[in-house]
Symmetry: C2
Subunit: 333 residues, 2 copies
């Protein structure tokens, strides 16, 4: 079983309006409310791949109930720890005439230490049945930045590989706890180099700063590689950087690879979550790095081609799988 | 007890954003989710006035649960009939820098005939305890336009006065069922004159058509009076037209009055609902028309001065009460 942890899920509400009046009253022609957030996308992708998955996380109030009901309707097994606060919403308005999209992400209410304690107990109970763990998304207000580090340490102590997909301080601290894979995108990778790791770990001297805290692929291959190597030096066994339409870069103990398929038109929302799902899935199947990356990159492409985050068409996946080129950039280091 | 019927309530979600990107991602600084819809505003106003009130209506799904919880937190007694569909939301985005406000009103999902039947049974059970009934707001999809007419007929047959505040075909048919008061605004009054009443009732020949289906006060007093008189001729004992900042016009069997307070700065959302609440409240206290109108107009003003629909400050109400001028335009006809 693969456990996917979603500590900050959301109910994603989308309004489709034919010609939005951004300063007036609108009556949406179509309304969609589905469970959302990165962890939920990961779990849906794993479920669609036929993997045994269990979604763990925090949910509360009527919006938490809506999330549970939506996942049950999709057949995704979930066991959320109940919290007092109402789970947050995201609200997206799509102008089906003009094409504009406005998004409003609620921050969510604070989670208490007691609620986190109950979650950690549930997580600890689930671990013995897990072949891998995915920790995905932002932390809700109220939780310490070391929360993912603690969850990573619990899993790795039990010999269970962790895929960590988060950003900022939570990524920095989580990386130091020794996950199997951390999976930042270029923006997250550049941002984490600007943070100061614990005194016992190497600081990211000069990384990304030269390019104004931004990293670009393929214009600044050396900078991206240096940042990924530095991040790997903090503790994770591998760093997989999602490069958008340019695929994936994996810096591992076995070597460094770049994997990319044909460019795909569509909606890239959730493509990174599909990559995280693909990596976790591959970890449980003991595939080699080139196989893992081909699988993960193809899932990212197929998800981009689909209209809804966390969904993909099998035909798109099969087509992408055939088109992905995996190049080894460096051998083991 | 006053029963307030809200067949199409909503969870009103408001996002406050400091400088909205209408084509990008926003993180609201403040989020507010409260039970909303016209009937709920009426019930809150009556509750604040100290009247014994019972809110009846339809609610379902997690959003229905959120509405029930919000009303319970406000201490407003409610007994909603459970429906299968999730209750609708409204989304309002307020740009606290630029001042723009964009609103998105979900239509709601269809209500079944069986669910309406269960509601009517609950309504019938509550009627013997009622001194007045307020029927307020739009009908949800799936309900016949004659629904308010049926509910009005049940109450009037039991000798209970009804205040009907709706629009379009539901107003036209409801008016013919003999409520004590119908309470359109100018837009609703002009629109209803364009509909064709049942063959036994007088058609609105030429009304509002002269002004292009619009009615204005005080520019077109004669047109507004003629339309209100025609509407009264369909069946209601009185027509009270809300004129925005210009107050109220009441066409009754006892005479015709105009009531208006000092102009008030603020948010007019919900002011009409406060007027409906004031009229129902006054009906149960057997006040004269001038007293009723003074009370209702003052509630409308005080609600405009408040920031939240359905709320008002007692000091604003007392101040408005002293400032309202009630003029009799015509004697009994």
């Amino acid at each position: 079983m693969i456990a996917v942890v979603a500590l900050n899920p959301a109910l994603d509400v989308t309004h489709h309006v034919d010609g939005v009046d951004w300063a007036g009253v609108n009556r949406p022609a179509r309304v969609r409310a589905v469970p959302g957030g990165k962890g939920l996308n990961v779990a849906r992708t794993l479920h669609a791949l036929g993997a045994e998955v269990l979604l763990l996380g925090l949910a509360g109030g009527p919006t938490g109930t809506a999330i549970r009901a939506g996942l049950a309707a999709n057949g995704v097994p979930a066991a959320f720890t109940e919290i007092a606060a109402d789970t947050r919403r995201t609200f997206v308005v799509v102008d089906t005439r003009g094409g504009e999209v406005a998004a409003f992400y609620e921050p969510g209410e604070a989670v208490t230490a007691d609620e986190l304690g109950r979650f950690v107990a549930a997580y600890g109970e689930a671990l013995p049945r897990c072949a891998a763990v995915v920790l995905s998304g932002s932390l809700p207000p109220g939780l310490p930045a070391g929360t993912y580090a603690d969850l990573t340490a619990l899993a790795t102590a039990a010999g269970i590989p962790v895929v960590l997909d988060t950003s900022g301080e939570a990524l920095l601290r989580g990386a130091a706890a020794g996950p199997a894979i951390v999976k930042p995108n270029l923006t997250e990778l550049a941002a984490v180099t600007q943070l100061t790791p614990a005194a016992s770990l190497p600081p990211a001297r000069g990384l990304a700063a030269a390019s104004g805290h931004r990293l670009r692929w393929p214009d600044d291959r050396a900078g991206v590689l240096a940042a990924a190597r530095w991040l790997r030096g903090l503790g994770p066994r591998a760093v997989v950087v999602t490069l958008g339409a340019d695929g994936l870069l994996a810096v591992t103990g076995d070597g460094t690879w770049h994997a990319a398929g044909e460019p795909v038109a569509g909606n890239p929302t959730g493509a990174g979550d599909a990559v995280a799902a693909g990596l976790a899935n591959a970890l449980t199947q003991r595939q080699s790095w080139p196989e893992r990356l081909r699988h993960a990159a193809a899932l990212g492409s197929a998800t981009t081609a689909a209209t809804v985050a966390g969904e993909f068409a099998t035909a798109d996946y099969q087509r992408a799988l055939a088109s992905v080129r995996v190049c080894q950039l460096e051998g083991p280091r």
